[in-house]
Symmetry: C2
Subunit: 340 residues, 2 copies
């Protein structure tokens, strides 16, 4: 376990929706000695966090933090990004004020990172309705971050100690998946996976597996032609840049990856990737956004309004997300030094 370096720029953890489980998991994360591994600050609301700590009897020495201040582990450093009236917050009931505060955490955290005061972004959950209440047009966190950091394209990787999965398509009906696949998108996704494994995960010659779309990867065109028409050409292009194989039968490629055969699997659609990922990493999965100029990981769950304020939330996914963000930062720094 590496010791905390008080002078390293800390990871910025956004508090997420103030009336979801975000504040609780942030407090629980900082109340665990594990936090000493990674310097981190919260971008959130000092008053709201103090109220939640009191309500749930979580001991926390919450103190305002400003850029450049050392992280000692004695206090929970909070960049005070809003000044909500704690008494007006109601668990599970976001309103325009709480939603504007929530989106402000994201904007301010990105600013802190872009200015070099923080090293990476770890996001606690927000709800889509909150973005709408704040008057923003984004369907989710990731789209908002892509806009803020001017990233032309991005991908979702789910990563855990045993399995990494990158999704080509995400939130769309199963019937529309085939029509949404293009050779260009597939190539782009494979290429971003190769680059992320090298730069962010420190793998020199990563092995990327690409799943087919159809049962048995189409069994030579018997069930669907996307493998021949789209996936193989994209694979051939990507093979110029690194080790990549496929299209593999979807029902065995994840088993092979788990057995150590591949460093990541590119999945064609949401459930193809998330069914195996959640079976293996239900508790400790981390969402990593590929393609942003900043390092960003996220907890692998939602605002959980149904249990907010009840003292039932676990910080396990936040802990995994903070650790992975720190590891990506370290790998990028190392790569930068090696190249410099």
């Amino acid at each position: 376990m590496q010791a905390l370096n008080p002078k390293a720029p800390p990871v910025a953890i956004t508090m997420g929706c103030p009336v979801g489980i975000g504040p609780e998991i942030v407090l629980r994360y900082f109340s665990d000695p594990i936090r000493h591994r990674v310097p981190a600050i919260v971008v959130g609301d000092l008053g709201a966090l103090r109220a939640v700590a009191r309500q749930l009897s979580i001991e926390a020495n919450l103190q305002p933090w400003a850029p450049g201040q050392a992280i000692t582990g004695e206090v929970v450093p909070v960049w005070p990004a809003s000044a909500l009236e704690a008494a007006t917050l109601e668990w599970g009931k976001p309103d325009r004020t709480s939603s504007l505060a929530m989106t402000g955490y994201i904007e301010q955290a990105v600013d802190l990172i872009v200015q070099g005061h923080c090293s990476a972004l770890v996001t606690c959950p927000i709800a889509k309705t909150g973005l709408k209440m704040a008057g923003l047009p984004f369907p989710g966190h990731t789209e908002m971050l892509a806009h803020l950091t001017k990233a032309p394209r991005f991908r979702m990787m789910m990563a855990g100690p045993r399995l990494r999965v990158v999704l080509v398509t995400i939130h769309r009906s199963l019937a529309s998946v085939s029509g949404a696949l293009t050779e260009g998108e597939l190539f782009d996704c494979i290429r971003m996976t190769q680059q992320a494994l090298q730069r962010d995960f420190g793998l020199e010659r990563p092995r990327v597996a690409v799943a087919g779309l159809n049962p048995h990867a189409g069994e030579e065109g018997l069930f669907g032609d996307e493998e021949e028409r789209l996936i193989r050409p994209a694979l051939a292009r990507a093979a110029q840049f690194g080790r990549v194989s496929g299209p593999w039968p979807p029902d065995t490629v994840f088993y092979k990856a788990l057995a150590g055969g591949f460093d990541a699997v590119v999945a064609m659609y949401h459930d193809q990737g998330l069914i195996p990922f959640k079976l293996v990493h239900f508790e400790d999965g981390v969402n990593v956004t590929l393609g942003l100029p900043i390092v960003r990981t996220s907890v692998d769950h939602g605002t959980a309004y149904d249990i907010a304020g009840k003292g039932l939330a676990s910080p396990a996914s936040l802990t995994a997300a903070v650790d992975m963000a720190a590891s990506i930062v370290a790998n990028r720094n190392k790569a930068g030094q090696d190249n410099g």
Copy 2:
């Protein structure tokens, strides 16, 4: 472990394609003391089996068996269903003669069961090309068995000690899955699952989970409407007959089933069910055909022509298939006695 009852009708194991791994896994199954748990015979070729035993140095006292003969465990009882010239067989190269023998094993095994001489069918792998060479119009084993036993409809269940999955659609392109789902098919599949869990697996009040088709089970119509249009109405009808729930988000329902929440999951398409099933039961999964008048299980692998004759094949899946067939027979007998 139950002792072998020499007078109980034995399970009939078909040898499968004579030039695939079927003969080897049959011999290895019978050379393991585990065989004493279940009385079983081979429906196959005595000469071919003897030649394979010699070639691979597997000790086996192969003897012809006739209906009514006791199963003692001292010999490997073979119903001599073909008389191939062993010297003409070439590993991995099926021809019309070997293929006609192969389909004959299936026909004769069904006859033995229908006449009450055997209790259940366990099939070793055949290849689709073999069916074609034999001049039969069936795409697979199961369709041939449905024809032989005059079963109007059938379903594929994958079963293991920790997870059971039943598929609504099987070998078709992903893009065609949505169009192939109907409320009637869905109801039928749920109902057959309920009945199989009761009659074949001895569960009095089984809990069936039904997966959605789309990510997050459509998120209230946001990505696809099949959940509302087809799955919910079928669920409502099936709920009159037993405990059934859904449509569940596909990326968490298998995790919940593994944790003990459900006795089986009805999956909408091949990879939705087989990705999680193979992750959990890659080695010991069994294919159970629902809807036939006879009990039928199958190994969970193909003819494996690439390793046929090399002494590399494992009988693990055959062992699991024989055990499951015997267990289904026992449950059906018990149910018959309880009702009588």
